[in-house]
Amino acid sequence: MRPTSMGALRLVLALGVAGARPAAAQQPAASSLDTRLRSRVDDASRSRIVALVDSLAESGVARAPLNSKALEGVGKRASGTQIESAVRRLGADLQRARTALGAGAAEVEIEAGADALSIGVAPDVLTKIRAGRGNASALLPLATLTDLVSRGIPVDEAARTVLSLSARHSPDASYREAQQRAVTRERSPAAPGSVPPHAPAGLPAGKGRSPRP
C-alpha cells in the first residue's frame, strides 16, 4: 500500500462513516407545498390553498400540520376543493385546541388536542387535562384520549379515564395500558365492562396487539 493510497483509504473510511449516519437518511427535506400542489391541482385551487395556509399561519396556527394535510391530499389524489376543505377544518381545530390548552401549550399538544376535538371531545376536557399535567407535557394523555375514542370507547368514558389518570399523576405506562385494554375490548366487543381508570399491573405494553414478527 503506497503513501498515495492512504488518501483513498481515508476517503473510503469517510464514506463509510457517512453511510452509517442514520438520523436523516429516512427523513427527506420538506417539499415545497406550492410545487407539490402545482403537480396535482389547478392554479385557482392552488392559489386558494396557499392563501388559506398563509392566512391561518398569520393568525398563529402552526404552518407544518397545515402543509402536511395539503400534501396528504396531494398524495391521495384529492381534488383542490377537498384539500382546501380539509386544511380549513384542521386549521379551525388547531385554533380551538390552542384556545382550550392555553397560550403556553406546545405545538405537539395543540395538534393532539385538535385531533381530540375533531372526534367530539369537548374543549373543556382539553383544558382540564392540560391543567392537571402541570409542567409535564399533555401530549400522551391527549393522544390516549383520541386513541380510546378511535377504538370505539365512548367520548365521555374515555375522557373520564384519561382525566382520572391525569389527576393521579399516573406514569406514562398507565396510559399505554389503558390503550391496550381498549384494543382488547375492540377485538372482543362482547366483553363486559369499561376501561377502568386504574391500570392493573402486569400488562406489558405491546402484547396481544401486534401481528409483527
Partner: protein
C-alpha cells in the same frame, strides 16, 4: 620536483596547519544550535513523532495481504452500517414511545412488489421511504426516526394502494377517503 624537494615539503607543511580560529567561535556555534536545533525533552518527542507520521514510506504487501486488508476495511464499514440500522426500535404495538426514537414499521402485503411508508414525517411522499422485504414471505419493514408528536401515516402498496396499519390506532380524521394510522412519540417536557 620530487618528494624530497624542500619547497614542496614547506608547502605541504603549511597546508597541514589548521587555520587560526576565532576564540568565540565555539560559543557562537552552540548558541545557534540551541536556537535552531531539535527541541529537548517532551517537545522533542512530539517533533520526532510528527516527523515519523509525515515521513513517506513504502509498505510492501503481497496481493493476498492487500485483499485481506481491503476486506477488513469493508467488514468494519458494513458492521457500522448494520449496527446503525439495527438500533433497538420500538414497534407501533408498543404504544406511545419516548422521543426521539426509531420506530419500526411492519406491514404484511403478500404478493406486493413494493411497499412504502408515507406520513407527515416524509411529506406523504411514496417515493421517500420504501420498506424492505423481510425473510418472512410478504412481510415488509423499516425503522424510521420520529420526533415527539402524534404522527399520521399509511402504507402504499405497489405505488397506488393506500392502506392503514392494522396494528396501530386509526387516525381521528379521514379527510380524503383512505384512513390513516397514528403513532405517538411521547415528549419529555
Amino acid at each position: 620536483m620530487t618528494d624530497d624537494d624542500p619547497k614542496l615539503q614547506r608547502l605541504a607543511k603549511e597546508l597541514r596547519q589548521e587555520p587560526p580560529l576565532d576564540s568565540t567561535l565555539d560559543q557562537r556555534v552552540m548558541a545557534l544550535v540551541r536556537q535552531h536545533g531539535p527541541a529537548a525533552g517532551r517537545s522533542g518527542l512530539v517533533v520526532r513523532f510528527r516527523d515519523w507520521l509525515l515521513e513517506p514510506r513504502t509498505l510492501r504487501l503481497s496481493p493476498l495481504a492487500g485483499m485481506a486488508a481491503a476486506a477488513l476495511v469493508l467488514i468494519i464499514i458494513a458492521a457500522s452500517v448494520s449496527l446503525s440500522r439495527h438500533q433497538p426500535a420500538r414497534t407501533i404495538a408498543d404504544g406511545a414511545i419516548s422521543q426521539p426514537e426509531w420506530v419500526r414499521f411492519v406491514f404484511t402485503a403478500p404478493g406486493a412488489a413494493q411497499v412504502s411508508l408515507v406520513g407527515d414525517f416524509n411529506d406523504w411522499d411514496p417515493a421517500a421511504t420504501p420498506l424492505h422485504a423481510t425473510a418472512a414471505d410478504g412481510v415488509w419493514s423499516i425503522s424510521v426516526p420520529l420526533s415527539a408528536g402524534r404522527h399520521e401515516y399509511a402504507f402504499v402498496v405497489d405505488g397506488a394502494d393506500w392502506r392503514p396499519d392494522p396494528a396501530a390506532p386509526p387516525a381521528a380524521r379521514s379527510d380524503f377517503g383512505t384512513p390513516n394510522s397514528v403513532v405517538t412519540v411521547a415528549d419529555r417536557l
